[in-house]
């Protein structure tokens, strides 16, 4: 029997069509109904205008889009034979604001998505405190805004650098926001120090803790989420950052990955209009995002959880929380490396002299984000965007399911809806 | 003599000074010469201008305002950019014909004695009314799609340098024909050089 389920509060809207057999999901397809045509809007625009347009793909990860655009244009410069010099300072600050956006996203996901969602499955409900997520995200946004002017929808990264020239006053202010976030995470989310949390050897360390995260962990275990929601056990990272390297992992065996193998196919859905497309590596579906990144980084606690619980819903949720913890520490570390005396911007050749293609690859909160542009005399001829949700939450056939389709199989519909959320769905990105 | 307002009296002094500077040269002309020409005592003259340098600056402002006023009238007409170029050329040449001392002062005194105009008359300070109107002319020309969008001074230099050169040749009596004779071809040349490519 096919039942349709409307999903909202996922940065937009989606519909899942479940084919239920014997009370469990036999197969499900996903449709994203809304389409905004960003790629066509970009055509024939001045290439630099993309720095303003693409952040508007997404209200929650627009900064990742900005970085993908700036990388794509800088790549086009290189392909056209022009140097683009970036100072160390520029690279660190860009990286820092990107990391803060991921942190912002993860906090919201914990408090506005995953805790409310898990509360639908258990009794008594876990106490819901969605505004904690908004609060933490607003602090992360302040830290971004000191460098980027505002969040969401900043355009402070430009080919050759960043528009801002921060002082020590700014750096100190940002530091205090990061400290405030760490303090919040320790007090409100995990109930112990960040250091202790990151030194966890296994999930046994949660024993005896009373905090938002330990409740969540406990509930996940009670729901047997460590035995459900398995995807393909294949992981993909494409963005090159201080916190990630391009790798694909199959049966725990890592090899380097290259964006040129990314393949876009039409989505398949049961009797529904969808504007989504599927992203594959070669012709294989891989899971992308925090789970893939933490595994490829060999984060001990996530590796340990993974050894026991594979790519279950439990591992997926916990990896995101541990990624958040490592990124908080990483952000502090990045800040300490900023040398404000370095250049914020090095002028590059006028964009009107550029005729070339360029690719920008970034790790966005949910995984790899690709921007592919074709520029002629500084004007965009073609612009393609591939988003993380297209890797994870594509909709394919029963024979060749996407990670989320695989993960929802064999569970009840209610569980499947929760598992769907563990991937952190971004509808607006999917159908840009 | 009928009673004149202070402003009118000032204008009389300016006209007289321009005439004398043009006939005898700027440096040779003295304040007593100018005072004598307008029939006033040297002491009274100082009520109007404190020094020859101040007078020199007032003169350039006077000329700049005169040019600016005339170009503004042209700018505000409904006519085409080509017609406006002709009208500006025509206005400038007529002025060179009818009030040669003004253009002469501008070319011979202002442009070649920068030291006098250093303090308080540098850059755009004294010529602002004139240059502003030329800016408006170029701006409108580009806006209506008739003129090629380029650097202001590249265009300004071409336009005013050309006119200044012709007036100079005219003043040196090198031109075989009267200025009037050149209006049409020069306007065409300027338009051709500046028009949209």
């Amino acid at each position: 029997m096919i039942t349709k389920q409307l999903i909202n509060q996922i940065e937009g809207e989606a519909t899942i069509s479940f084919d239920i057999k014997d009370g469990v999901v036999d197969f499900a397809t996903i449709a994203f109904p809304h389409f905004r045509g960003i790629e066509s809007i970009l055509k024939r625009k001045d290439a630099l205008d993309a720095l303003v347009i693409t952040p508007r793909v997404c209200g929650i990860c627009g900064h990742a889009h900005l970085m993908a655009t700036v990388r794509a244009i800088e790549d086009a410069y290189k392909n056209a034979g022009y140097r683009v010099e970036l100072s160390k300072k520029v690279e660190i600050i860009r990286e820092f604001t990107l990391v803060m956006e991921i942190i912002q996203n993860h906090f919201k996901w914990i408090y506005l998505t995953i805790i409310p969602e898990i509360s639908k499955l258990i009794k008594p409900n876990q106490k819901q405190t969605p505004l904690k997520g908004a609060y933490a995200a607003s602090i992360a946004s302040k830290a971004i805004a000191i460098f980027a002017g505002q969040w969401p929808h900043s355009s402070y990264m430009i080919p050759g650098g960043i528009t801002t020239d921060p002082t020590n006053v700014d750096i100190l202010k940002v530091e205090s926001y990061v400290d405030e976030l760490i303090n919040f995470f320790e007090k409100e989310s995990i109930g112990i120090s960040l250091e202790t949390f990151l030194s966890f050897k296994s999930n046994k360390n949660f024993g005896g803790l009373k905090s938002d995260i330990s409740f969540l962990e406990n509930n996940l275990m009670n729901l047997n989420m460590d035995k459900k929601g398995f995807a393909h056990d294949r992981f993909l990272v494409l963005g090159k950052h201080t916190f990630s390297k391009p790798l694909k992992i199959e049966q725990t065996y890592p090899t380097s990955s290259d964006v040129k193998y990314v393949n876009i196919t039409e989505a398949y859905s049961l009797n529904q209009v969808s504007y989504a497309k599927n992203a594959q590596y070669g012709d294989i579906f891989y899971e992308a995002g925090p789970l893939s990144r933490t595994i490829s980084n060999n984060l001990p606690i996530v590796k340990n959880i993974y050894r026991r619980s594979k790519d279950s819903a439990y591992t997926r949720v916990m990896s995101r929380i541990f990624e958040l913890a490592t990124l908080l520490q990483h952000a502090k570390n990045l800040l300490s490396k900023i040398d404000i005396s370095q250049k914020s911007y090095t002028q590059c050749m006028d964009i009107s002299k550029i005729t070339a293609k360029g690719i920008g690859v970034v790790e966005a909160p949910r995984g790899p984000l690709l921007h592919l542009t074709d520029i002629k005399d500084g004007v965009i001829q073609e612009y393609k965007i591939v988003t993380p949700t297209q890797f994870n939450i594509g909709s394919s056939t029963k024979e060749n399911p996407t990670p989320v389709q695989q993960a929802m199989r064999g569970t009840t519909k209610e569980e499947a809806l929760f598992i769907f959320r563990t991937f952190d769905v971004c509808s607006v990105c999917t159908t840009h | 003599m009928a009673r004149m307002t202070k402003e009118e009296r000032k204008t009389t002094i300016i006209s007289a000074a321009l005439q004398l500077f043009s006939e005898r040269g700027f440096y040779i002309t003295t304040i007593p010469d100018i005072a004598k020409k307008v029939g006033m005592s040297v002491g009274n003259f100082y009520n109007y201008f404190n020094s020859k340098d101040i007078l020199a600056k007032e003169l350039i402002i006077y000329i700049s305002e005169y040019l600016g006023r005339n170009i503004r009238v042209i700018n505000e007409k409904e006519s085409s950019t080509e017609e406006k170029i002709y009208e500006i050329v025509s206005m400038y040449f007529n002025m060179a014909d009818e009030e040669p001392e003004m253009i002469e002062y501008f070319l011979r005194v202002y442009l070649s004695n920068r030291e006098i105009f250093g303090d308080g008359c540098e850059g755009m300070l004294c010529v602002s009314p004139f240059v502003t109107e030329m800016m408006m002319f170029f701006n409108d020309g580009v806006e209506c799609g008739k003129l090629h969008n380029q650097d202001f001074f590249s265009a300004f230099g071409l336009f005013m340098g050309y006119l200044g050169g012709m007036v100079f040749l005219f003043g040196e009596k090198i031109l075989p024909e009267p200025l009037e004779w050149y209006k049409e071809s020069i306007s065409q040349n300027i338009y051709n050089a500046l028009k949209t490519r």
């Binding site: 001045d46 969605p130 505004l131 | -």
Partner: protein, 301 residues
């Protein structure tokens, strides 16, 4: 509008074609909880609310304040119901309709993907001919891409207190949009003396002359009510793109359109001739303090 015994005004926040930017911008509001306490949130894209989405699209209830985010597309459906039917229903009964962001106000970025049919809810760019024309007196535009959380919080608080919100001809609250983005810009002195910045990435110099800054032509209080309480685009050397105005997004956003080096657009309300006069004169002066790096200027006189 409400005495203490009255029930809280109810809100439905509904989305058309959007990136969710206004939703996420709103979540940055300081004291969000205090504001939300004053209202009954029937539906919101991310915050917990009392009604499920199906109830909203079924149009079986009404609300006091209807907030619409995103571009209006007459063919768009939410939960298989035409958005045009949904907004007609809620607009009819609501006391106030708020267009959250530039897409809802004027059409914004997503108007350009189908300009012949997409629009704001009351305006199609600056022309008042959107679908909610018959309810125009209720509509308040909080333009901006995204909107500033405090602009929306101001509007909601004013409504809750029963205060009158004066609006401009584009239906934006005067108290928020009579300022220009230029007001309070930390680069103001460079603008006064017409010192343009050599390049991006510098504290010194104004972005109006080459880098395309629209702040002197843009109604917005970005430099008065700071973004995320800490900064603004121009404060970090990014030009203002004029995102609160009906013609956003313009083209060639990082360069100033000039005619023979003369800015095509000059500060609002200033005749170009007067602007050029002042500019020419200001440029004449060379002020050492404004020409070098601020950090190198160590004298205090």
């Amino acid at each position: 509008m409400h005495s203490k015994q009255d029930k809280k005004p109810s809100i439905i926040w509904f989305q058309g074609l959007t990136c969710n930017g206004n939703t996420h911008s709103f979540l940055n509001l300081e004291n969000l909880e205090k504001l939300l306490d004053k209202f009954e949130l029937l539906s919101h894209p991310t915050l917990p609310s009392t009604q499920d989405f199906k109830t909203i699209t079924d149009c079986t209830l009404i609300c006091d304040i209807f907030i619409f985010e995103g571009t209006y597309d007459p063919l768009m459906k939410r939960n298989n119901v035409l958005v045009s039917n949904i907004i007609e229903h809620y607009s009819k009964y609501a006391k106030y309709i708020i267009a959250a962001g530039s897409c809802a106000s004027f059409g914004g970025i997503f108007r350009s993907s189908a300009p012949q049919r997409n629009s704001g809810i009351l305006f199609v760019e600056q022309e008042k001919s959107g679908p909610l024309l018959s309810y125009e007196r209720k509509v308040i535009n909080i333009s901006g891409c995204p909107l500033h959380p405090q602009w929306l919080s101001y509007t909601l608080n004013m409504i809750e207190k029963g205060n009158n919100i004066e609006i401009d001809s584009l239906h934006r609250p005067i108290e928020l949009y009579s300022n220009l983005a230029h007001h309070g810009c930390t680069k103001n002195e460079y603008f006064e003396w017409k010192v343009d910045t050599e390049n991006f990435g510098e504290k010194e110099g104004c972005l109006f002359y080459k880098q395309g800054c629209r702040a002197p032509m843009t109604h917005a209080s970005c430099n008065k009510i700071l973004w995320n309480e800490v900064s603004s685009k121009t404060r970090v050397g990014t030009p203002c793109f004029g995102c609160t105005e009906p013609n956003f997004p313009r083209s060639n956003l990082f360069s100033t359109k000039t005619n023979m080096s003369i800015p095509e657009d000059v500060p609002l309300g200033v005749p170009k001739r007067n602007y050029l006069t002042i500019t020419g004169i200001a440029k004449t002066f060379h002020i050492k303090r404004l020409e070098g790096k601020l950090i190198d200027y160590k004298t205090t006189d």
